[in-house]
């Protein structure tokens, strides 16, 4: 029996497995992938890059993997080849999964594909990475097949329900309909627990752990509280941050643009190389404070390497001002992120954060309840934090806030493998779930609302005000269900009814069935939910709403015929309406 964990990242995917039994170690799974035409090699990460090769770009055997092949390739060679050609490389599919403005099930990637070239949907790209990893495992370990519920797949804690369901859909299409979803920051903490068997001695009831997870493309915050129940230490996830499209890639890109200003015009492939070099130069400069600059050299494109080289440099002062002051500034805990209202997205682009200050977003997260939440411990995750200087800066800023509140500094939970912890933690969790073991309680990390138009006489030019009905309370646990009390709806049979759907990660105390008279600012609108009642058209059915959270963590909304009406005993599922209605 094997338990399996998959970290489906914005820039890199990783996987790990664990044998049965609480003490069996969690092992990294190196994923074989094309590294060049016709060459397959196993690496600890699978870059989340999908290359859509042209019909005769390569002979078919050059793209062959041990378990089959096709023109759509994932991983190291995909990323490399994609930098050499135009409009054939899909990246950041995961960020698109959570982009409310985009048609996420439609073929929209790569966004820069010239007309006539193939495109795939963000779901399809995610499916391709998952299928690649799963096929690799099946090929290498045919004697240890993966059972659905023994596989955990991680998503950002801040992923809303639509993004989670799309991830699940990708998993289903990859052949694992029932796999378990797990939040990445929780997975990072599981990995820390796995590597510290004495963790119960390191934490005390009342401790509050802040997980700061800065990945390639997203930043994710989570608070986990240690509590005591029946003399046992338990962990409960009590808050997650908003979805921030801000990560290490943005940082390295900002550095590359700065360095490029001193260089002659670079082509796409050279810029890509510069981007990679800037990442290494950044780490070197942050590591060694005695260096004033790091040299960059882009080898000549032709065979003259030294003669054709373009030289450049990255200066310490730039790294400090761009990274430390730009992304990790020392800010007061009362500062709020600068947020300009997003204009209705006219062009198809990712809604990157307006304010790049990760520390300011952190302040807003910790201050959500009005009072500053005061963590006693902090766990870092994500490749960005390989630079010790950045970990220190976050700790420094956090501890300054804590000092103002008269609290002791937070202790850093050390020893995590920043690149692979999430996959390892996921494998550990898959085992704990199946065999019993420590589990972080938490439930659904958001509350959900449907919009209800107020009944009022129509006034020309004035839309009736919208109220919000709480349908899913914060923290609803897996394997539970609840009915929305006090309200029923009359829906026409045979035609679709649509509800506007809202989410909040900060409102935690709205009980199910609560009606908010107006839509509060902290509610964010998701894709609408749609229901189509089967039956004889033209009649109306009276229904009540029910919510279920499945064992695997999927949220379902159901409409149920009201007792005493002709539709008693009937149930209909509400589905997300992801295709935008064309006016």
């Amino acid at each position: 029996m094997r338990y399996f964990g998959i970290d489906l990242g914005t820039t890199n995917c990783a996987a790990a497995s664990a044998a049965a039994g609480p003490d069996a170690p969690v092992e990294q799974f190196a994923v074989p992938q094309l590294v060049a035409p016709g060459e397959v090699f196993a690496e600890t990460v699978l870059p989340s890059a999908l290359y859509l090769a042209a019909e005769e770009e390569f002979p078919p055997e050059a793209l062959e993997l041990p378990w089959g092949g096709g023109r759509c390739i994932a991983g190291r060679f995909a990323a490399r080849r994609g930098a050499e050609t135009l409009g054939r490389l899909v990246t950041s599919a995961k960020s698109w999964l959570s982009a409310t403005q985009a048609e996420r099930t439609a073929p929209i990637l790569p966004t820069n594909a010239p007309p006539g070239l193939e495109r795939v949907s963000p779901v399809e790209a995610s499916r391709a990475y998952l299928a690649h990893i799963l096929n690799a495992w099946r090929h290498l370990h045919p004697e240890e097949p993966l059972r659905d519920r023994a596989v955990a797949l991680t998503v950002p804690a801040s992923f809303d329900e639509v993004a989670r369901q799309l991830t699940q859909q990708a998993a289903e299409q990859a052949g694992l309909p029932e796999l378990i979803l797990l939040e990445e920051p929780q997975a990072a903490l599981y990995a820390w627990i796995e590597s510290h068997p004495d963790w119960r001695e390191r934490l005390r009831p009342g401790d509050l752990i802040l997980v700061v997870d800065v990945g390639g493309g997203t930043t994710d915050y989570t608070l986990i509280r240690a509590t005591e129940r029946n003399g046992e230490l338990e962990l409960e996830r009590i808050a997650v941050g908003d979805h921030l499209l801000l990560g290490g890639d943005n940082m390295d890109l900002a550095l590359a643009h700065t360095a490029a200003q001193r260089m002659p015009k670079l082509d796409a492939a050279q810029f890509h190389l510069l981007w990679q070099q800037c990442r290494l130069a950044k780490e070197a400069l942050l590591e060694d404070s005695s260096r004033a600059e790091a040299p960059l050299a882009l080898p000549g494109r032709g065979s003259s390497l030294i003669g054709g080289a373009i030289r450049g440099r990255l200066e310490r002062a730039e790294v400090e001002s761009i990274l430390l002051d730009g992304f990790f500034p020392r800010v007061d805990s009362h500062e709020a992120p600068v947020r300009r209202r997003r204009a209705a997205l006219a062009e198809l682009g990712l809604p990157y954060e307006q304010d790049p200050a990760i520390t300011r977003h952190l302040a807003a997260f910790l201050r959500r309840g009005g009072q500053l939440a005061c963590p006693t411990h902090v766990l870092f995750n994500g490749g960005v934090f390989r630079a010790a200087r950045l970990r220190e800066r976050v700790a420094e800023v956090l501890n300054a806030w804590l000092e103002q509140e008269g609290r002791p500094p937070a202790q850093v939970l050390e020893g995590g493998d920043l690149m692979h912890a999430v996959a390892r933690g996921a494998a550990f969790y898959a085992r704990a779930r199946n065999e019993g073991g420590i589990r972080i309680r938490g439930g659904i990390p958001h509350s959900y609302y449907i919009g209800i138009e107020a009944a009022m006489p129509a006034v020309p030019g004035l839309k009736p005000p919208l109220k919000a009905l709480s349908v899913v309370p914060f923290g609803m646990e897996e394997g539970t269900e609840a009915a929305v009390p006090g309200r029923d709806f009359a829906l026409y049979v045979g035609e679709p009814a649509e509800f506007r759907f809202f989410v909040s990660s900060s409102r935690k105390h709205d009980p199910i069935g609560e009606l908010l008279e107006e839509i509060p600012e902290e509610l964010e609108e998701l894709a609408p939910v749609e229901i189509r009642l089967d039956g004889e058209a033209g009649t109306a059915a009276r229904v009540t709403l029910e919510v279920h959270v499945t064992e695997t963590g999927v949220l379902e909304l159901w409409a149920k015929g009201l007792p005493g009406t002709p539709h008693e005993g009937h149930r209909w599922k509400l589905e997300f309406q992801l295709r935008r209605q064309r006016a």
């Binding site: 060049a36 035409p37 016709g38 060459e39 040299p295 065979s303 390497l305 030294i306 003669g307 030289r311």
Partner: protein, 171 residues
């Protein structure tokens, strides 16, 4: 482990005795390779050369006339070649010293462990005894051994003599 050996064998460069000395043999035996064409001896060499060129542009560098350039220019170029060559070595070989000791101190030949009796694992220099092998000496160089080789598996149809393709940019 089985996996590493699997690729080591595909590369065809892991001598059986070295594998045995480091305990890889069992793993290799667990997953027998289906009979396949014996890789030609130059396969591994061409693959490695191609790899070094692809990742670090090593052929370009060695075959370029660097005499017209200043030390500074060469130095700047070498940095990235060095970093990338190192990455290739780390990724595709597991390298370790033959004798893991402090250079300049006296060590016994036995410090090489199982390799102590391996001809070619230790080279004695200096004032050699008239008869028999010396039992130790001052460690001048720790030596290197490859514990494992993990080269990419190449498709049999691949023409490995193409070390780097010519590049034509379509405008």
């Amino acid at each position: 482990m089985a996996f590493r050996a699997f690729f080591g064998i595909l590369g065809g460069t892991l001598p059986a005795d070295i594998a045995r000395a480091h305990g890889y043999e069992k793993a290799a035996a667990k997953r027998p390779e289906p009979p396949r064409e014996q890789p030609k001896p130059e396969t591994g060499a061409l693959q490695l050369l191609g790899l070094m060129q692809r990742e670090a542009r090593l052929i370009d560098f060695f075959l370029e006339d660097i005499s017209p350039y200043t030390d500074e220019q060469v130095g700047a170029g070498v940095r990235s070649i060095h970093a990338q060559c190192q990455e290739v070595l780390r990724k595709h070989f597991r390298l370790a010293p033959v004798i893991d000791g402090v250079e300049g101190t006296f060590v016994k030949a036995e410090s090489a462990g199982a390799l102590a009796r391996e001809p070619g694992a230790i080279r004695f220099t200096g004032n050699l005894p008239a008869q028999g092998k010396p039992t130790g000496g001052v460690l001048r160089h720790r030596g290197w051994r490859a514990d494992s080789v993990m080269l990419p598996s190449a498709s049999p149809k691949q023409n490995l003599s193409i070390l780097a393709p010519a590049e034509l940019e379509v405008e």
